[in-house]
Symmetry: C2
Subunit: 152 residues, 2 copies
């Protein structure tokens, strides 16, 4: 599935700019890198990409930028992979729920009202005040299943 990266990056960058003055060049650059990666990237991958720009950044530089972007809902952390992925709809979904394909590596955000309801009901029954969710469903996406399937 090819893809116009510039197009998919635009809304997220625009949302980021609307935050105000806090989107520094460094943070913007890190966001661009994560957006362009298009699949979850490790912090050290971001670091390596950043290094190609010329500077000699150290890990804290990247982790701080990622922390900021996460706090703004522009980037999500994929705990099951120690990786970070850009949010392509930062206006809408500020939850962190993903389908992950282990074959192509893609992450797609889940938006599902029935799931919202089931989670809310389960938490209520358990008496839990929810603060944070890590929902990562890993498998093989339809495209990868068909290409690796009967043929190959």
């Amino acid at each position: 599935m090819s893809h116009d990266h510039a197009a998919c990056m635009a809304p997220s960058l625009k949302a980021a700019e609307n935050l105000g003055a806090k989107l520094t060049p460094l943070r913007r650059r890190v966001l661009e890198i994560v957006l362009a990666g298009h699949t979850p990237m490790g912090a050290y991958d971001v670091l390596a990409t950043l290094a190609r720009d010329g500077g000699k950044p150290a890990p804290p530089t990247v982790y701080r930028a990622l922390d900021f972007l996460q706090a703004q809902g522009l980037v999500h952390r994929i705990d099951s992979r120690n990786a970070f992925v850009a949010c392509f709809a930062p206006e809408r979904s500020h939850q962190s729920r993903f389908f992950l394909c282990r074959a192509c590596g893609r992450a797609s955000e889940i938006e599902d009202a029935a799931l919202d309801a089931a989670l809310a009901a389960a938490a209520k029954r358990a008496g839990l005040t929810v603060e944070r969710e890590t929902i990562e469903i890993t498998g093989v996406c339809a495209e990868c299943a068909s290409s690796h399937g009967p043929a190959a």
Copy 2:
């Protein structure tokens, strides 16, 4: 909430023994440690506990045992904490879905038919063949909320 550890460990140990000969003393010991921890423990915590038995185990020893126990469904990994927790109902639930309290640290497995259905439906709609789930809902449990709440 006090708790009879021996009692809660029994079913899991029994299930483990029913696997057959593969539950070696080391693996059994690691399972006991994780069961006794009663909240998610880091691999290096397990390692330290194991070290008190007298040997001088190295990390791979613990990781291998944990891998085995995970494969048997006796232990689950909590990705959002880099930690491991024993499954207290290994016969029933082989999924990995948890409520986690950030105050007391307890992990409780979610068993909820509506959630099962919502997840299955969402995966089907997305065309994903599910292989693995990481579902970790973190918050404050009812007990901790009441003790830290109006009073303290």
